[in-house]
Symmetry: D2
Subunit: 484 residues, 4 copies
């Protein structure tokens, strides 16, 4: 899947640093390396030990902080930052994180990656009790829950609140004198701890942020943990012990940067292994192997090497796609004008090619790719997908809301192959996916410590607010399948 596809995007990236010089500037660079996790908004809140400072806006990090003064204004030695993926409906400034709340007893800032499954229920109860929400995001609920328990210490109130929310979440909270990180009981979302040369701790959604700023990896945050970083150092605590690792497999397949290490596994290596196992499992009688740039190149080179076939650059992705780009008219599109991907005629002409993609969501891009390659003279086009068919929605932080959009939820592989126009189509099996990733911590856990619910519908938790709607959609689909 080429990475422009809307509809399958990680919701966010978070980063935090405590007690380091240039804290907000470090956060800026760290967020820069997490930009692939969200391009619709960005923000930073800093603390100078007395007060919290916020700047955030819609757009890419470089756009948000286009005026240097805005970053310079975020003084202090601690900071948290956020890059956000937002669907069009709620892409308003009020939803851009980190959120900052002013209280007469101290400010609190909050950044969140994930999705709460009981948000509607909690929000409704809180509003009945007089609460006023400023955003439509579910993130704000946590702070209301905390404020409902002002009789407790902040950490105790936070622990109690974390036990009330459900779903996938990685929270960072900043107060004037501490940085707190918390992960959901299944560890759906990645969250790691690093350390700068001077000893200061940092927390990030992906380890690539550590490389960017010259920090060393320390450990992953584990399910159910509450990490408190203050002047006395790093304290590992738990708000629950009822945990079981189910890290999102899509982080390995598509979302995370190839250089990130999640639960001990380098993403590029996992992808290359997906390609190798795919080659073993579903070989292709072709002249060359081509990857869809950029996210499928690792898998493609694995497939090529395992097959002993040449790995070629048969597709080119234009590097200068901008937000403000004028789009081709429908007429120009029909006349062949293309914006993002081009097939390389001099490579594929007259050849049988295996094209490796990381996934198929709606199938639109796959269809275009096959068309592009044939137009450029490819004799045969065999598509190989380095993950299993996406058939079920995610409720823990990935934006696949409706099953009706997922091609594999509605068609058999044979039908998909036909619609896409490929000569053959094969997917990696779930066991091979789990084998390719091989999470060390996940050995004795269902699905090897991975969440593979998008492929098999076996969700690791109840679905709460989503349960009814999900069951209804399943029913509708079964009815449709019967009719077909």
């Amino acid at each position: 899947m080429s990475d422009e596809i809307k509809g399958l995007n990680e919701e966010c990236g978070v980063f935090g640093v405590f007690d380091a010089t240039d804290a907000s500037r470090l956060t800026y660079f760290a967020l820069h390396s997490l930009q692939h996790r969200g391009q619709e908004g960005a923000g930073i809140v800093s603390s100078d030990g007395q007060q919290l400072y916020q700047f955030r806006n819609r757009g890419l990090l470089s756009e948000v902080f286009a005026d240097k003064k805005d970053l310079a204004g975020l003084i202090g030695r601690s900071a948290i930052g956020h890059v956000r993926y937002g669907t069009s409906g709620n892409n308003v400034l009020a939803n851009v994180q980190p959120f900052l709340f002013h209280f007469h007893d101290g400010d609190v800032a909050l950044a969140h990656n994930g999705n709460l499954t009981n948000a509607q229920t909690l929000k409704s109860h809180l509003e009945d009790d007089g609460a006023i929400f400023q955003s439509s995001s579910d993130t704000e609920i946590l702070i209301h829950l905390i404020r409902k328990n002002q009789h407790l210490s902040f950490i105790d109130a936070l622990k109690k609140s974390l036990n009330q929310v459900r779903g996938g979440f990685a929270f960072l909270l900043l107060r004037k004198d501490c940085l707190v990180a918390a992960l959901d009981p299944n560890g759906f979302r990645p969250l790691s701890i690093g350390q700068l040369a001077n000893g200061a701790y940092v927390v990030a959604s992906e380890t690539c942020a550590f490389d960017m700023i010259g920090a060393k990896f320390v450990r992953d945050v584990l399910p159910g943990e509450l990490i408190v970083i203050d002047q006395d150092g790093l304290h590992v605590d738990h708000y629950t012990t009822d945990t079981q690792l189910a890290i999102c497999s899509m982080e390995y397949i598509y979302f995370s940067r190839p250089d990130s290490i999640i639960h001990g596994v380098t993403v590029h290596n996992a992808r290359k292994m997906m390609g190798r196992l795919l080659a073993q499992q579903s070989p292709a009688d072709v002249d060359m192997v081509i990857g869809v740039p950029n996210s499928s190149l690792s898998a493609a080179s694995g497939y090529a090497e395992e097959s002993n076939l040449p790995y070629e650059m048969g597709l080119i992705k234009n590097q200068y796609i901008a937000r403000t780009f004028i789009q081709p008219t429908q007429e120009l599109r029909e006349r062949g004008v293309k914006m993002k991907l081009s097939a390389v005629r001099g490579v594929v002409e007259g050849k049988r090619v295996a094209i490796i993609d990381d996934s198929i969501v709606r199938g639109t891009t796959s269809k275009q790719i096959v068309h592009l390659l044939r137009e450029a003279g490819a004799k045969e086009v065999h598509m190989r997908i380095a993950s299993p068919p996406l058939r079920f929605p995610c409720f823990y932080g990935i934006d696949i809301s409706t099953r009706s959009e997922l091609m594999a939820a509605n068609y058999s592989v044979t039908e998909m192959c036909e619609q896409i126009g490929a000569d053959s189509l094969e997917f990696l099996t779930i066991p091979n996916l789990i084998k390719a990733i091989s999470v060390p911590d996940g050995k004795n856990t269902p699905h090897g410590g991975l969440c593979v619910a998008y492929f098999d519908g076996d969700y690791p938790t109840p679905l709460y607010d989503y349960e009814a709607g999900y069951l209804a959609s399943l029913k509708k689909q079964q009815a449709r399948e019967v009719i077909q």
Copy 2:
């Protein structure tokens, strides 16, 4: 060489279309695919058969035409466009092309890729004669020469003028009723003709522009040719027959897009073959092969396949680098903050790696790359360059003005290896470069129809205005070499 390096950049890309619907929009998309040839300015001039319309500005194409109305205002069925690389000194609007000149006997627009070697002499003569130049670019000279011959027909005046200029040039001229293309007698710069489904002709610096807009390749413009496209079709003419092909080898090595076909050779294939021949010529005893993204990936995969070694993603290039990006302070840089390239620890740690780059200009980037890889745990770093050492400046359209900046002009390969910090360093030989490219038209021509003067100092033409300065710099260097 990673592609952010200033100091070795192609100067421009040009595109023209005659008699097609949506001419300026087609030009916009075509220029989009040529954006890698110049990011400092862009412009389009269109013709509606009566009048010419211009819009141009500094910046990327998407920035220049951020307001749709500006493109919509370029009405008519013919257009020429230009993307420009400009050095800081002359990066002013007045230099952004296409130029448009209004005359009481008809407008003329002009777009140019290349560099004239007798510009100063011609300009001086013309000024003495009362001419006033509006830009500091050498491009404008052509139009003054034409106007000096108003007694001749436009085409005859143009032919006469083309015989007065020297150097490397690909010119496009647009008048209300015709589009004209002209190439220098050595064909230093690439220029190709294509055709849309409806028969309309297009001209472009690279064939990737044809793929972008759904046009078919027709033929390359040949040295000394003057192509006139008007209502009667395409007319091939010559302004001189004293020609000899010497197409710039850097177009294959670095500049052009991998999917472009120049004089019959697909750039990706040439690069992959450079990698293969480099592997044969300079093997490395390593665990894996890594390419510098993005321009060296083709050569790296060729090297890996020929060596039967795994091809790995050991370096990651950040995709979100923006013009307005806040840069790390020196202190942060020293603490390890990096912006553009990251090494992938999980891939290279404990491994012996061969790193493939396309060229070395100043050596700064090479040094950083070796440092990055070692920091990420690479045990050995062997650098292999898929082209010969760059030792001489270019006078035909590539921005390498002074020898003092070229690392290979000042140091031996052994010294370079030491400075870069690699365990070994090897370059492709000139004969292998020529063999890897194998220009069909260049068989019986010196250097196989290629200009390789940057490597051996053997310029295919006299240097005119540059001669004295060049000889002086050579002398200074020889003196320095003697002292060393």
Copy 3:
């Protein structure tokens, strides 16, 4: 006082319309005529009968709605709008009004002009009870008070809440099906009701907004009133009957537009009469009368006519002052570079002039004006101020927070004259101010229905949260006066 002076600025302007076509566009034009009441932020919330839509930002109205789409998105037949004056400390987007609150039982929008005197106390109580405030403005308190009374109807909850807040306030609230206006028990701030030709009601801070949009004046909102406008028309209600008019006299002296009519008095006429009474009370033996543009021109012409002296344009205000204007360096300033006001040499040279200003805050501008006039050759400069000396802060919506800044709070008139460098200085007396304005409704009320507390310190209400600080500052000053 020239109108660029910070430190004495009206805090806001509000406007509302119910059930009219183009409601948000009407609001935009109405706010345009209220722009003088606040330039730091602007916003509009509209209602289409089902839902509320918001757009707001920092900056001038024309900047906020620079993109037409943002206004076009505010659909529906009802709207409220706000222009905001903000001090630098709190000039953030979160404070730009109207505020919009989403509740599962219906949205509420809120726009406010004024200042609450018990805001800190109320906010603290509410936070202890779990409330979370999104802005630092006191406006938001009202909505929290309302939500604390969800068991009551909206109007009853609002009435109860209005009885809990203290100070000066003109509130507009918009719900999907009604528009509500409420004024404080002293009517400190102006608020008027108008009607469009088609019968739709509008509410505005000043009647000049009615002229702008072609509406007819209906009546002023009176102290303690609650006006509800819905599909059944306009309903006049009260939340309290314990009221006494004390309309801010600074509205007449400086803030309001000369064409606005407040409680039956046209502002220009009041100002002209201030000038006339000032001429009677404090004549000057001069050759001409000059007004400080633009706010003092009415008073100056009154003074000139009453004195039978020529009224001349002796000071020019530059019309092109922009926010982004580059300021003169200190050196240039000393060399005479001036930005905003110029004296007209050809008018004042060799002449004795009376210069009329509306007020003196810090005295800085007055000093500059006298200097400018003398530099341009004026032989004598007699300053006449068309209001009494400003000696006490305002707590009801005008930004004069500290006594230490007010020149007249710290110096006698003789000392002021000396510091300003004028040949004489005289102020209008309080009785003459009251006589000049002559509010018809204020006849049997203290100070003729006006608040003149800035002049005599006689505040019409207790000061609540400000009491302690105010008394302390008085004490400090008395101590200083004793020492002096």
Copy 4:
């Protein structure tokens, strides 16, 4: 005439300074005070004694130099600047001045206020001779003429060239070592010399620029003069002695700032006298006098004083009109929404008013003003115009190109009064205009040293390129008049 009217705008303002610290910043402030002379473009060229530096763009001065760096880049101790009025057709960057020309024998910059009457003829000759023009402005012709005479010294070539151009012009030229000013033989356009405290000379279109920067007035540039300012001081020279003063009377009536002194006459004083003479000549039986803000306020106060009538603020001009302002729809306009001017009901209701305007161009604004006043309740509206009827175009630098647009060229005063809807309409007579201004230098010159050709068609020079078109339009009109 309210000052938003297009169609009667001065074309430009120029300023120059030689050998002063902060030259470009001084120029910036000086241009700021000349902004009323042109809002469509602005630019500055500076000289550091070696080289010339340019920055210019479309828009207001504050917009053009929004980024401080652009002004800071204009280093050196000498500079010229320009603010430009441009008609829509030619409002392109290429036409924004000062123009800067690079020659191998030294750069020349040029700023121009005025209009050449033989531009087309000269341009055509020059193009036939090979010249290439970069702008559509007539200003550039001068530099081409100079370059045609390279055998002469620069000053001699300039003198010769000035004798070849015809029309109204005030030229400033900057070279690395001198500043040159030249005025046309009739002195149509104002141009004055001033001096800074340190002795450095400045030149400006209006003396208000001197007040802005703390310079003293020295003398006016006289018709036919060539002023050269260099390291040796100021040299007064002539390029012709065949001169006769005919300074544009519109400069006094409308264009210039009231504080400027032109040929010894303060503009405000002239305007006030126009009002006084108008009152003597055409009294009105009214209750008050009102001026159209801002340009007619001087005349209105003169009229009021002479008539012994109150001078009232019956019309308000909105101060916040911005370029990007959203305009009312036609429907809203009909419903009474107004943007720029409001009538003050509380002032005019039930009153007989005399409304003073400086001129009538198309009559559209006059009609609106009468309508506004009647709508606000004025019982009678008597319009008095403080200048004679505008009946003929200007060819010397004011943008009134066609007679068909001038109301007074097509209708009698009685007809105009009827169309405008006033109760009476009277204009100042030409003799009274001349008497009101009373240019000291113009005593023994036709029309008192003024150009009044717009009123009587008596042009002080032949019309050259415009002659034929002008005569044709006169004929057409006479034909129309006969028919009527």
